[in-house]
Every structure is written in structure tokens, then in C-alpha cells.
Symmetry: C2
Subunit: 205 residues, 2 copies
Amino acid sequence: MNQQYPSVLLEKAVSEFSRLPGIGRKTAMRLVLHLLRQEPSAVDSFGNSIIQLRHEVKYCRVCHNISDTEVCQLCANPRRDASTVCVVENIRDVMAIEATGQYRGLYHVLGGVISPMDGTGPGDLQIDSLVERVKEGGVQEVIFALSPTMEGDTTNFYISRKLADTTVKLSVIARGISIGDELEYTDEVTLGRSIINRIAFNGNV
Amino acid sequence: MNQQYPSVLLEKAVSEFSRLPGIGRKTAMRLVLHLLRQEPSAVDSFGNSIIQLRHEVKYCRVCHNISDTEVCQLCANPRRDASTVCVVENIRDVMAIEATGQYRGLYHVLGGVISPMDGTGPGDLQIDSLVERVKEGGVQEVIFALSPTMEGDTTNFYISRKLADTTVKLSVIARGISIGDELEYTDEVTLGRSIINRIAFNGNV
């Protein structure tokens, strides 16, 4: 359907919304018309919250999780077990694991997985900083908690080789989760159990 | 799942997004993380387009459609047939009818339909301005193009009574089976009405 927008401002707002993943022009229109019915102050709050986040967001210099401070709340918490580091793809995975309440260690957010198809190589990820973090000492165990996909397994293997000359224990979360599933959509019980039942990592799973 | 946000800024942006209709917290998170990966200038553009729209939006003083000007492009267009006014619920309906390319008249956007259940009375809609518009003269036909629901029918009826002392011709868009629909799956009310309101067959439809 060739949409004729009655207003340039409207068309611009709809275009901006429809650039978001999974939002088509019809949904974008519905969202924009919803915002038009809200108070101007509420719409200011909406728009500014996103602009502010983008400009002021920080990433923890230890684990690279999103943070409001130089070092995130998890890394700065003395009650967390700093000898265990859980390697995850992104901050949604940190939140998913935190929500299980089964893990008291720290994290390392890679920012993705090695994926030649998507043009993501080891240099695009926070792998060097992980190796450095382990070599600085204090870390006794690295838990791989990447999605059980080809890319996740490749990344596990690459990191394990990088850490081969250290004495750190490597483990991988138990594969109670089916191959090909996205980690963040796994139910809490399965995900929690897969952390408890993690097994020694020897390059294969 | 009890989500622990690693950043107050992030939590605020996700909360704002999840207030939109049909957007849950998981989808909101996905959208916010997408925006975090965009250039700051692109995010500024996104946020500001919405804020600007909300503050600068105008509604045509004739038909109440969204407009960048006092009188919208449709009402200001001398090639449109100003003697015919199509009554619609909202601006999406204007766009849907415009997209058909079958209508050359003008519109009147009510801003909703009479719905006691939702607390929408005639006073909340642009009905008085429609009656005034007809009584000013020049309008020869009012076409009701509201959704064929109880609320739409009630609104049609209410407006028709308000216009009873004028000579304007009232019509309603044809209701019947959709082009391409299977007859056996059409609901009884629609099918029954399409039989009662059958039209002369001249080889075309």
C-alpha cells in the first residue's frame, strides 16, 4: 500500500520508528499515533531517555557490561565471588543469568561471538581483555555461557586456546538447553540448572 | 523474570519503550540495545523526531486530519471534490482510503467513535464541527466510513440525527464480503447483509 502521509513531521517520525528491528511501517504508525495522544512532557521523557542513554552510557572497564559507573555494580560488589568469571555474549545474557539467582561470580561480556559470516572476528570482541584479566591472577575458573551454536562453540574453543598456558579451570554451562536456542529465551530453571551442572571444558562438548 | 538492570539509564529507556502498546519489556530491551549500537547522531534524530512531532503537530482546522499547515493538503487542494465529505475515525483510515485511489472528495476525522464502554461520548469527537461544516453549505454528500461495529453504527446513527434538518445526502460505504474472500468463511451477519443489500448485476461488479 502506497502510504500518503498527511504531514512531513509524521512521516519522519514513522520512518525513524520503522528503522527499529521488527517494526514495520504499520506498527510504527500505530506507535507514533499513540505517542501523539500522550502529554508532551511524557513524549519528551521518552525521546530524551533514549538520547541520554546513548550519550551517557558507560561500559564497565572490567567486565564490559553496561554501567552507570566506571566499574559496574556487579564487579564492585565485594560479596560476589571474584574468582569465577562467566563469559557471555551480551548484557541480556548477564541479566538472564542474574535472574536465575544461581550465580554469585562475575561476568565478562564479549559483545558478540566469532562469526565469519557476519564479519565478526576475535578482534571485534572483548577476548584480549578477558585473557589479560585471567593473567592478572585471582580468576580460578572461567565458565563459558555462550549460546550453544556453531559460533558460540567456535568462540569457546578460540578462548580456551588463548588461555591454554594459564592454570585457570575452564567449564561450560550444561547443555540442558537445546542446540540452536537463544540463551536469553531459555526458562530460568533450565538455565539455572545448566550453571550448577557445568562440566569441565576440554575443547569439545 | 525479575530483571536486574545494570544501569539506571538503561532501565529508564527500557521502561519508556515498554509503555508503548504491544511492546513488552523484552522487546523494549531489544530495541534499546539496537539503538545503543547506532551512531549517537542517528539516536538523536530518532528521539528528536518524536519530540518535534508531538510539539509541532497541527490538526487541519477543517477536517482535523494531522497536518503541517493550518489547513491540510487535502482540504487545500482545489482538484478535490469539496462537495463530498467522508467521515472516518482516525487518520489511518484517511490514509487507507487515499491508498485506494478511488476517492476524490474530502474527509472529516472524528478522532474516535461513540463508545460508552470506553467513556467516549459525542462531545469527545469532532461531531459538532462536522455538523457546522455541513450547515455552512457546499457539502452535498456525507459518506460514513466508520468500522462496521456496534460503536461505528451508533456513531453513524447519532450523526445522521444531527444532520436530519439539513438536505445533505447521507451514504455509507458498502458492506459485504471482501474481494477474494471464501464465501463459506464469511460470517453470517456480513453474508446476510450482502444478500439484503445486493446490487444489480451488469456483467461487472
